[in-house]
């Protein structure tokens, strides 16, 4: 049986959409992303200290926590999302501490029950895989790792070992939501990574417009967009779904245009 990731990426370049759980009406916002054409959902688990994130996602984390968002709420959002959208791959993305607080087995079990397909733990280096990797793999949940411009050929095998689902290529050495990398650099790095693995490679950090997304989709298996959605959630609050849907439609069309005609 193929996984939701395999089925999704088999169609060609996919649009991966990130929002922070508990920021705005998350269930409605997720539905809008799917309605607009999102292929994969990354649901951010809020954390007090999002060290790898720029101002937009930092603020979203704080807004979610100030509203009282708990780990149980994130898992409930995931469970309900899975019930509404049986086919859409769902990834929980966040920092290690909230994931391991009650023990990795607890987290893997709860994520599995919620129908989560993959987990991205930003500050869990492959060197510390023991803290989460074995528990997730036991439950059939993909641990999705990040590669960056500083991940050289010597290191890529260590990053790939134990990872599955897809690989997230962070196109800039920096934090989320800032500048975008040069296309030439993205293309070179994606090809470099793909020479080491058959996993799909999705590219993110700094992608905001359909034009950027279309360019990246020509050279990668997926395009990740996050901060642009977070900005809309902040700006429009309860009215965010319609704005999210409009942005996703444009991005999805751009990404899917790179699929084999």
């Amino acid at each position: 049986m193929s996984t939701r990731f395999e089925t999704t990426f088999a169609k060609g370049p996919a649009l991966v959409c990130f929002i922070t759980a508990g920021d705005g009406d998350t269930a409605a916002n997720l539905d809008a992303l799917v309605a607009g054409g999102a292929d994969v959902i990354e649901l951010g688990m809020p954390f007090t200290d999002p060290m790898a994130d720029g101002p937009a996602i930092q603020a979203a984390n704080i807004r979610a926590l100030n509203k009282g968002t708990k780990t149980a709420d994130v898992l409930k959002l995931a469970t309900e999302f899975r019930a509404r959208h049986p086919q859409v791959p769902l990834v929980l993305m966040g920092y290690a501490n909230p994931m391991i607080r009650r023990g990795p087995e607890w987290f893997a079990e709860e994520a599995s029950k919620a129908g989560v397909d993959g987990v991205i733990s930003v500050d869990l280096a492959p060197e510390e895989d023991q803290d989460l990797g074995p528990a997730l793999r036991d439950k059939g949940i993909s641990l999705i790792r990040l590669a960056t411009p500083t991940t050289d050929d010597k290191r890529i095998p260590a990053v790939l070992k134990g990872s599955s689902g897809f690989l997230y290529y962070v196109s800039v050495a920096g934090i989320t939501g800032k500048q975008q990398a040069a296309m030439a650099s993205i293309e070179d790095n994606v090809q470099r990574i793909k020479s080491h693995t058959d996993l799909p490679v999705a590219v993110g950090f700094g992608v905001r417009t359909p034009e950027q997304a279309a360019e990246i989709a020509k050279v990668a298996d997926g395009v990740v967009v996050g901060s642009a959605f977070i900005d809309l959630v902040e700006k429009h609050g309860p009215d965010a779904p319609q704005h999210l849907k409009a942005l996703v439609e444009g991005l999805a069309k751009a990404v899917h245009s790179a699929r084999k005609a």
Partner: protein, 405 residues
Amino acid sequence: MSEHTPNSYMNQPDERGHFGQFGGRYVAETLMPLILDLEAEYRKAKADPEFKAEFDDLLEHYVGRPSPLYFAPRITEELGGAQVWFKRDELNHTGAHKINNCIGQILLAMRMGKTRIIAETGAGQHGVATATVCARFGLPCTIFMGATDVKRQQPNVFRMKLLGAQVVPVTSGRATLKDAMNEALRDWVANVHDTFYIIGTAAGPHPYPELVRDFQSVIGREARAQMLSRTGRLPDLLVAAIGGGSNAIGLFHPFLDDPEVKMLGVEAAGHGLDGDEHAASLAGGFPGVLHGNKTYLLQDEDGQITEGHSISAGLDYPGIGPEHAWLKESGRVDYTYATDDEALDAFQLLCRTEGIIPALEPSHAIAAIVKVAPTMPKDAIICANLCGRGDKDIFTVAEALGVEM
């Protein structure tokens, strides 16, 4: 002592940077290659006699080491028990132990060809020490400091600026030390090619806890030799205050394999451990992952980090160096705590009895001595690290005592 007593307490961390279950390298992938480079370069530096010679020379002629080991007769008499001795690291250039580590790290930065220095600071002591070494070696320096702390610590902000540093007020999160460290990590991740991050305490991703400990261990090596030469024996008890734990690990480490020497680390209990208003990660926290390492953290049941509180801004951090977490679990070092009020009393006691105005950080260590010295025989010896001087704290103390300046 745990039943699994190791042969030596001095051979940690392991090759992956783990102190037992603590420590490690929990950083975003962008930083991993740099962390590995830093470790490789540190191994080379550690084996290089020239590196050691330059470090030692700067400590002697620039910092003013060795710092004196001082027998404190009047506080000893007042407490009526063990002899109290102080390792006088508050007499260092810049007024605290922080400079020892900054000298070591800037030498490493230059070996690695890095041309820009960043650091985080809470009260400003590490920021001042970093700005000092950057001025000394002519490297541009950016200090991240919580906006709340910038307001509270204006004299240190001005010092850093005089020394040529750029001070960036951090407004994210709750705008204190923890957020300053987050922001420094964000800067580092975006500037890995030319930037060296001088971390101020024995925490962060491997190899920082190890190298900061090694640079600060000059405190314990000197104290050990001085004590042997002055008294012909080792002390019975070492005492040091703990925020992140760099001064304590610096004092303790060279004595870890001397079984007759007991050790006491003193955390900041703020308004007491009953509520949330304290910074005692070991006494009131749980193991978790933050800022690159696994250690005891103040956190809630969901793993969200909670804010510490201490009258001493230098101890006001929700974590602790991973080696302390391991030394606690292994039973080699005892850890206790002192409240704001106890530290304030101890601060005044040292002023009055010895003519030394200590920083609020070592005042916590003195508060623990006030409790433990009377329970020990008169021929017992306590050696405490006086890790900083109190000039920076007089406004805070005046306010706490209700004195208008």
